[in-house]
């Protein structure tokens, strides 16, 4: 211990300091992380429960490979059971992106709903009609559904339809994984 080469002594010093820091932070993290996670869950719920009736939601975007156009993937739970997959998909409409939330029921591959989350660049009074519009697809099968274009708002409606298609395609490709998770 007497004449330790300087580099070793210094590295040791830094390592010990690093460990102290790590332990302290791990401790505080164990207290704050649950609070932060709970709040994020609350915020997500506030946004999604407006459109989809679930008790709980989780953001699964990081756990799956995303196709082009898919921005986010959420799971919707009733009780503790994973019931539906909700996609946030984006397609270019008339003048800007049209973002829709698409819910698909895992048990029977039926569409829960499609709702436009944002379309602020679409023409006001015309393309903007897609926002809040009920496209009447609840309960239809993902393999056989009818999607009605809003007359006079063809481009914007097609963007919404494309969001639906993107979501269904991703769902079909990954169905096995979702069924395993539920």
């Amino acid at each position: 211990m007497k004449e330790m080469p300087k580099t070793i002594k210094y590295s040791l010093f830094l390592v010990v300091l690093g460990i102290i820091a790590g332990v302290l932070l791990a401790f505080v993290n164990s207290i704050t992380a649950p609070i932060i996670d709970a709040r994020k869950e609350e915020e997500l719920k506030e946004v999604l429960e407006e459109y989809f009736e679930c008790d709980k939601f989780s953001d699964e975007t990081a756990n799956y490979s995303l196709d082009k156009g898919i921005e986010k993937i959420y799971f919707g739970y009733i009780g503790n059971n994973l019931t539906m997959v909700i996609y946030q998909a984006s397609t270019n409409g008339y003048a800007g992106p049209v973002v829709s939330l698409v819910g698909i029921n895992i048990a029977d591959d039926k569409l829960v709903d499609i709702k436009v989350a944002s379309a602020d660049k679409e023409t006001s009074g015309i393309g903007s009609k897609v926002i809040g519009h009920d496209f009447n697809i609840t309960g239809e099968s993902i393999n056989d559904y009818s999607f009605d274009i809003i007359s006079g708002a063809t481009v914007s409606s097609n963007a919404v339809k494309n969001n639906l298609v993107i979501a269904i395609n991703h769902y079909t490709d990954n169905k096995a994984l979702f069924e395993k998770a539920s």
């Binding site: 010093f13 830094l14 300091l17 820091a21 302290l24 932070l25 505080v28 704050t32």
Partner: protein, 209 residues
């Protein structure tokens, strides 16, 4: 110097922003509301006080050649603590201060005081130095935020719902969001520093005569 002088130097004579011109990045970025300024001020007070304290306490056992990395690890740990605590208990503030919370690590004021004072002075004095500097920094942040927020919207947010509003009906034309834009930040700070320098120069002239 006396303990009181040690404290007040951070506010006047050696004010980190107005005199030493340090820590400009957050000064320009977060001074869009008084609430932000107060929040950042509290964060800096916490980090600066504890970092000065800790560094002063270990100043005799830290080998000179690696003192900078050591200081950085201490400061980074404190900043991570503040980041976590704010994310958990003050989420709105955490959101608006954003990336400038972790950037407190490289705020030249903190490392500067560690190097210039805390590593060479006793713990109690270092703590006073830290508090003084933090208070001086926060006061300037509040002044700039007050100017920018007021000129932008006629109202000033002090904390949460506590507001000072002179433009409740949104009718006054002289308020413009220019002041909360990046360009506004640069110009307000530039004018402020120029004004302060003018005053200090005049004081020097008076002293000479």
């Amino acid at each position: 110097m006396t303990k009181i002088q040690n404290f007040t130097k951070g506010i006047m004579k050696e004010n980190p922003i107005l005199v030493s011109i340090l820590g400009l990045c957050p000064t320009l970025a977060i001074t869009t509301s008084v609430e932000n300024a107060l929040g950042m001020g509290v964060a800096i007070l916490f980090v600066l006080t504890f970092s000065n304290l800790i560094i002063s306490l270990i100043r005799n056992i830290v080998p000179n050649e690696i003192r900078i990395p050591i200081f950085i690890v201490v400061i980074a740990t404190l900043v991570t603590l503040v980041d976590m605590l704010m994310a958990a208990f003050l989420p709105a503030l955490h959101e608006s201060l954003g990336i400038f919370i972790p950037l407190i690590v490289v705020n030249c004021i903190i490392l500067g005081r560690a190097e210039a004072y805390a590593s060479k002075n006793k713990p109690f004095d270092s703590v006073i130095d830290g508090i003084g500097m933090a208070v001086g920094y926060t006061l300037v942040l509040i002044v700039i935020s007050f100017i920018r927020e007021f000129l932008a919207s006629g109202a000033v947010t002090i904390w949460g719902d506590l507001q000072l509003n002179l433009n409740a009906d949104q009718s006054a034309q002289i308020f413009t969001s220019f002041f909360t834009s990046p360009a506004g930040a640069f110009i307000v700070l530039g004018l402020l520093l120029g004004t302060v320098a003018t005053i200090r120069n005049q004081k020097k002239e008076v002293k000479k005569q």
